[in-house]
């Protein structure tokens, strides 16, 4: 290769500096442009995001498995150290839960009898898709996780994501084989809930802290620390009665809720498919009408 001569360098370096400054301005401008597009045309951004996420999810799936195995081994080692104390606690809890089981069975039978007396519309059946949490972006700005199930597994936007303990969040974006779950604690999360024995309605709003807060409580609401918070089912997105957490404290801005979900050990999420019977019936009717029309067209020919 030819080495540049002195005069070439003298001409080239201001040019180069100018070009690099221009490139910086151009790309910063492009980034601002993307920010604007993100606010105005969310569809394009979402499509791009889900495509990229779909491509990356298999890699994340592979990387996260050894991490899970390692964390499982550590958990087991930890649990060995408190085996006998756990055993005692579980025996006591089991005795208490057996009593509760008897109560629950009696109430279930009574509830079924009362429902049939009143001809109450049955709640829609729930079906579940179980998915592994493969990505956790972290950081100060979002509280989301990526799961390794998407459209082709039956996951759809808006569905509830739960763990064994309670509600974790809802599906915000869906790709073919991946989906993003917006956690309860995210600054954009809003969930209609009922609180306590008085079943006071409120909206649970996240703010990127570990304890989301209750908004829009009625003036007559009587809420105490320790009250249970469950989904209300308003809006028809979440099934009613999914446990969320307990009221943990009062701050100057309002009540805070401590979710039941253990965020550090959220290896697997169940996605609740909650289809309102009305929508299903409508689809069935449309399907039947189409079939009838096709049959009629067939006989005409």
């Amino acid at each position: 290769m030819n080495k540049p001569t002195g005069s070439e360098i003298r001409v080239a370096s201001p040019l180069k500096a100018w070009a690099s400054r221009f490139a910086l301005l151009l790309l910063v401008g492009a980034a601002f442009g993307l920010m604007l597009i993100g606010r105005t045309n969310t569809f394009v951004v979402e499509e791009t995001r889900t495509t990229v996420t779909d491509m990356v999810t298999p890699i994340l799936d592979a990387i996260s498995q050894p991490v899970d195995t390692f964390s499982g081994v550590i958990d087991r080692a930890e649990s060995f150290t408190r085996l006998s104390a756990d055993n005692e606690a579980l025996k006591a809890q089991n005795a208490r839960l057996l009593q509760w089981q008897a109560v629950a069975r009696r109430l279930e039978a009574e509830n079924a009898a009362l429902r049939s007396l009143n001809n109450m519309v049955p709640d829609p059946k729930l079906s579940y898709v179980t998915a592994r949490v493969v990505g956790d972006p972290g950081g100060a700005f979002v509280r989301t996780v990526l799961i390794n199930a998407g459209e082709r597994n039956g996951v759809a936007k808006g569905q509830a994501a739960v763990t064994g303990n309670g509600l974790a969040g809802r599906i915000a974006e869906v790709g073919q084989r991946s989906a993003r779950v917006l956690l309860l604690t995210d600054i954009n999360s809003r969930v209609p809930v009922v609180v306590g024995a008085g079943r006071d309605r409120a909206v649970l709003a996240g703010d990127n802290t570990n304890a989301p807060q209750l908004l829009y409580l009625g003036p007559t609401a009587k809420i105490q620390v320790g009250d249970q918070v469950t989904t209300s089912g308003h809006g028809g997105v979440f099934p009613p009665g999914l446990p969320i957490g307990v009221v943990s404290g009062v701050s100057e801005r309002g009540f805070r809720v401590k979710p039941f979900v253990n965020w550090a050990h959220m290896e697997v999420l169940r996605i609740v498919d909650y289809e309102l019977p009305g929508i299903l019936d409508f689809e069935a009717q449309v399907g039947a009408a189409r079939a009838a029309a096709a049959a009629a067209a067939g006989t005409e020919q």
Partner: protein
């Protein structure tokens, strides 16, 4: 025979020249792996920032500005935040290093680490401010501050690994 050697040589050159870009992309992915440790998630280190800074200092011609843009774009897409603030943060870090490249030529490791503290502070502050503006809400900067500290602590480990990798390549 000679021609085949030429192909391998060229492949080698290409692999060397794209490795900083792809290693930084890998860092973006590694930052997404869930670690299952309580309360660590909000303060995971900004690994992509470390990658961009390191190569802007040590191999500026292998970390061109469009590569920084692409890394930032991919990071913002995958994290799920607003697209843009993360890109601008990385571009600021890159621009600051390029602006002061003479200073970095003779700097020792400790001095570069100190410079990273300033550059990362500027980049993360810009990211925070733009995120607040884009989301039209005040985001608590406390986790970001801890994220900054964790990133500082991670820098020497990653830089050591990168330098080892570079020497291995040069042999």
């Amino acid at each position: 025979m000679r021609q085949e050697e030429g192909v391998w040589y060229r492949l080698d050159v290409v692999a060397r020249s794209v490795s900083p870009f792809f290693v930084t992309l890998l860092l973006v992915l590694l930052g997404l792996v869930p670690l299952r440790i309580a309360d660590l998630s909000p303060i995971v280190p900004a690994l992509a920032l470390i990658g961009v800074f390191f190569w802007s200092v040590h191999r500026p011609y292998l970390m061109p500005i469009w590569a920084v843009f692409l890394i930032g774009l991919l990071q913002d897409l995958l994290i799920g935040s607003v697209i843009g603030p993360g890109i601008i943060g990385l571009l600021i870090a890159h621009a600051l290093v390029v602006w002061q490249h003479r200073f970095f030529l003779a700097a020792s490791f400790a001095v570069i680490w100190c410079a990273f503290m300033l550059v990362a502070a500027a980049a993360l502050a810009a990211t925070w401010l733009l995120n607040c503006i884009a989301m039209l809400s005040y985001v608590d900067p406390a986790p970001l501050f801890f994220q900054y500290l964790v990133t500082m602590a991670f820098y020497p480990c990653l830089a050591w690994a990168f330098l080892r990798g570079q020497r291995l390549f040069q042999r």
